[in-house]
Symmetry: C2
Subunit: 331 residues, 2 copies
């Protein structure tokens, strides 16, 4: 029995953002069509300066693939002490018909890609059709990935960016302007950035409100990326009071997403959540209904996104003859 | 960064049962010395004729290795429909200092080996020193593995074997007599087999009591292997009433081991459980204290057994230059 091995470089060449966006849409649709099993993930937290490693398992009945992603992060001494990145990843794919191991691929890139794509999928479903301006609170890697993905599906005329670290912000401005030719404005305050936004993207490691409710203008679509565990927060929970709230997974977002905060403060009840994004994509629920409503997409990240994106990468590798086969046992 | 790949054949040649027994002892000791983190495992159950796949994660502070074993079983159509075994396995090892992926090895053999070794470790700690006769209820692969392991640490003069399938029993007799030169007696009944036992090993897929309490003679050591999830059972719970009960993991055995049954029937309370086998191995609790007591070892299987056994295999591979290095990314 042969297993395909794919390096990080090969993975990088095997999928473009356009395809990842398609994969994430497919994942969300599968999730809301009873095609997905995703047991709660397991992980190990190690003492500082080490980080954590999580194992996320997903089964997609639509493609009969079981995926397991091991993903580490926060090992801040790795580059200097061990010569490896502070976070790494490995993905296993199994053929769910036999449970044979079909693929072992480097999984370092996929989390960033599918999270970027998630933002773009939400923009398609929830942003105003005449949206042109993106405000980015946070200017790290995932902030770049959001622009890369949103730029695939609409014309961004201007990015208004804010970061608590001026150096990071300056690098972001240079990179976005060079790579995409989109002008990046550096406003005098977060408030100024938010007030300019047709689409507001938050991708920080924030642990408290960074965006106040009265800064958000009518018609804004908010892509809330940063909060994926208890203790993190980016938005004033008051923003949720009159917004159309869409989540990737109701169970996850209510427990550890940005949505946990307004639920916890009883600003909204679970019934006030409009629904899961897959429900909109499969047509069970409407997306944006007018140009005035504020929409929020709360993304915590799901194993099924990894599953579908990695399956596409694997299929592309097979089709293009990329990768190295290894026989773990003779059958 | 380089990751070592090990095939099933290479794994088979890299460790002998003697070493696995040492590894499992080390694992049990680590578990009872606050050196182990083992989050609850996650799995997916597929509809018949497919089976299930489990993912077990363990972190051993003593060797700074994080292991993840993916293990499938019960895919009964695999040999005919897909040309692969009904169960397969894959083990990932990570260096816990950086979370770098150090090894991907076939994991088909390790569960059988470490479970066999577990029985032998319990025999060392709990069987009478003058034990000579083993009774085996169940004569499948794991029954063979138990004999292979116990044979490493004592002289077995005779095996009394019983199975509900006469063909399986006949093959077992032939194999054990050929491989180990130990005579296998086929008694007229289970009762006769049990009554002959110094050591009673149960390795069935039983879902009800197979061994009655009044068949068990004083001084017997029972190795209860088969029950590792709710719904399985091999022993009359009355056997536990006056026995010295030792478990691999209190949490697991009370929830899904053989020990669940007498607890559920209130034949014993949790406080009546003598302890975990690691507590005996590190000297915190006594093992067998006289030739009359009945001892029971309830084994449900722990990720840390896979962790330590796989780490030995990896180390042996490095020392002997066995395996294939693969670079998942350049660092």
């Amino acid at each position: 029995m042969k297993t395909l091995l794919l390096t990080k470089e090969e993975v990088d060449g095997l999928i473009c953002m356009h395809e990842v966006i398609g994969a994430v849409e497919e994942a969300y649709k599968a999730f809301n069509s009873d095609q997905v099993l995703q047991p709660g993930y397991i992980g190990i937290h190690l003492p500082s300066p080490r980080g954590e490693v999580d194992f996320k398992l997903g089964y997609n009945k639509a493609n009969e693939v079981i995926s397991m992603k091991a993903s580490s992060g926060g090992f801040i001494d790795n580059p200097t002490a061990h010569g490896v990145p502070s976070g790494m990843g490995t993905i296993l794919l199994f053929d769910a018909r036999s449970c044979a191991l079909t693929c072992v691929m480097d999984g370092s890139l996929i989390t960033g890609l599918r999270t970027g794509a998630a933002g773009a999928v939400s923009v398609k479903a929830l942003a105003r059709k005449n949206a042109r301006t993106v405000a980015s609170i946070g200017t790290g890697n995932q902030a770049r990935m959001q622009i890369r993905a949103i730029n695939e599906i609409m014309t961004i005329e201007e990015v208004h960016a804010w970061d608590s670290h001026p150096d990071t912000l300056a690098r972001y401005k240079r990179d976005i302007e060079t790579e995409f030719g989109i002008p990046v404005v550096m406003p005098n305050s977060k408030r100024e950035a938010v007030e300019q936004a047709d689409i507001l993207v938050t991708t920080t490691r924030g642990k408290g409100s960074l965006v106040e409710a009265d800064w958000v203008k009518a018609g804004t679509h908010i892509v809330a990326i940063g909060t994926d565990q208890q203790g993190k927060q980016e938005l004033d929970p008051e923003i949720f009071r009159n917004a159309k709230v869409v989540v990737d997974s109701m169970a996850q977002c209510a427990e550890k997403g940005e949505t946990w905060h307004p639920l916890n403060k009883k600003i909204i009840a679970k019934d006030d959540i409009h629904g899961e994004i897959g429900e909109i994509l499969v047509g069970k629920k409407p997306g944006r209904e007018n140009d005035h409503e504020v929409t929020i997409f709360d993304s915590t990240g799901m194993a099924i996104q990894d599953n579908v994106a990695a399956s596409r990468i694997y299929q592309n590798a097979i089709d293009r003859g990329v990768g190295t086969f290894f026989e773990f046992f003779k059958s």
